[in-house]
């Protein structure tokens, strides 16, 4: 019987122990699993899951941190906008400390007098826009979990004619990035731990072409300890049986078809475009842009912004970390010149960044 607070049922110590035993029984050699999603990286560290797994299981962090994969040029764009007199930047907390190429971030811009407001939901950003005549700009980052939320906000802004509410669209979609990763011969993976909430939107079906093309075991996982342990077990089991299919361990949230209503709303507001991912480079069709009927909410158009290519800071290996090629401690800047208080690259300072996770949770 589940407690009224559902999540607690998925933290059961006894079940965790049994699932761990099942994993140990089924891992017969090196098992390289990529946790696509930054929230999985954090959850794995938070619950100390690595400390329970057989030494042969290697959990590799991937590019599932929307802040981290936002290009240097785009980050600079956001920071530069703070210099427009009277502008209000309403943003998710995740972006506040991400460094731009000129040694500034939104926090330092705020210290210099720019108006930067942290919001939990774009609804709150819209409320700020309604309360003022000043332009309110919302940097929209996030994958398919967040994209429909932003789309719904754009629809509301249009309906209510809140013309001073604008967005900087940096959204990216996950499947093309997975395709790019799996196409890289240097990255030999045995399985993918797929993002549970992105999957709630795109459904199990979205991974079928990947499995077909690359023959890679995929398990869709939630974020509680039992979700992650059961998924690792299922991946180990597939590998042991020489299978490659899409399995879903997050049945309470993810279905085969996902959330069609959310996808409909995305479709109404956005259309695909090419995008540049930090670490992965340019991936065609992996980004989104506002459809022309919503162009008056497009901050890039309104302020005439262009995105310049910005090279990685010297010594920064965020790109390789995002593609699972290097672990944070292998970067010479890690915890020496690049720390949470003085980050060089986004992976250290983003709330879901791999380096931030390694730095905060350390190693046993």
């Amino acid at each position: 019987m589940l407690p009224e607070k559902i999540s607690e049922g998925f933290r059961d110590r006894e079940l965790a122990k049994k699932l761990t035993e099942r994993i140990h029984e089924n891992v017969k050699g090196p098992l390289r699993i990529m946790e696509v999603c930054g929230t999985h990286t954090m959850s794995i560290f938070r619950h100390g899951i690595r400390s329970l797994l057989p030494i042969d299981v290697e959990l590799i962090s991937g590019p599932g941190c929307p802040v981290c994969v936002t290009s240097g040029g785009d980050i600079d764009q956001i920071i530069e906008l703070t210099e427009v007199p009277g502008i209000i930047i309403a943003t998710f907390g995740d972006l506040l400390r991400v460094p731009g190429s000129k040694g500034k971030n939104l926090a330092t811009a705020r210290a210099e007098g720019a108006r930067v407001e942290i919001v939990y939901s774009p609804v709150d950003a819209l409320k700020i826009a309604e309360s003022t005549d000043q332009p309110v700009v919302f940097p929209a980052i996030g994958f398919e979990t967040t994209i429909p939320v932003i789309a719904a906000t754009v629809l509301e802004a249009k309906q209510k004619n809140i013309s001073n509410f604008m967005l900087l669209i940096y959204h990216k979609v996950v499947p093309p990035a997975l395709n790019a990763l799996l196409s890289d011969p240097e990255l030999a993976l045995d399985g993918l731990l797929c993002p549970g909430h992105v999957s709630a939107i795109i459904g199990e079906q979205a991974y079928e072409p990947l499995v077909e093309q690359f023959r890679i075991p995929c398990v869709i996982a939630g974020f509680e300890p039992l979700d992650i342990l059961s998924s690792i077990y299922m991946l180990a089991r597939q590998v042991r049986n020489n299978e490659a299919r899409v399995e879903n361990s997050y049945g309470r949230v993810v279905s085969r078809e996902g959330n069609p209503r959310a996808r409909e709303i995305i479709e109404q507001v956005f259309e695909p475009c090419d995008a540049s991912w930090r670490g992965l480079g340019d991936i065609p069709g992996s980004g989104l842009k506002l459809r022309k009927e919503f162009k008056n909410h497009d901050a890039k158009l309104y302020f005439g912004l262009t995105s310049n290519y910005v090279p990685e800071p010297r010594g920064c290996r965020c790109g390789e970390i995002l593609t699972g090629k290097v672990k944070p401690p292998e970067c010479s800047l890690f915890n020496s010149r690049c720390t949470p208080t003085n980050p060089v690259g986004p992976c250290m300072v983003s709330s879901e960044g791999t380096c931030a996770a390694y730095s905060k949770y350390g190693e046993i």
Binding site: A152, S249, R252, N259, R261, E352
Partner: protein, 86 residues
Amino acid sequence: MCLAIPMRVNEVLGEQGDPLSFPVAIVEEEGLRKEVRLDIVDRWPDIGDYLIVHAGYAIHTLEAGEAETNLKLMREMAEHVTGKNI
């Protein structure tokens, strides 16, 4: 990428499909009450259902029974009872 938690629906304000209003559910979890937008939810919730809440919006509705089933299948897997999809 994915921070979202399940919260229990106490009340639903507004009508499904009404283009002029923005329906919300009032959710509650251990003394915390919040308004959650229903613009993008997959199934219209009933009182007692749970919503997966991300950035102030519901992205999925589930019944307690579905969570029970999910946990049951995990338990069976942990105890080696079945090799089925959960």
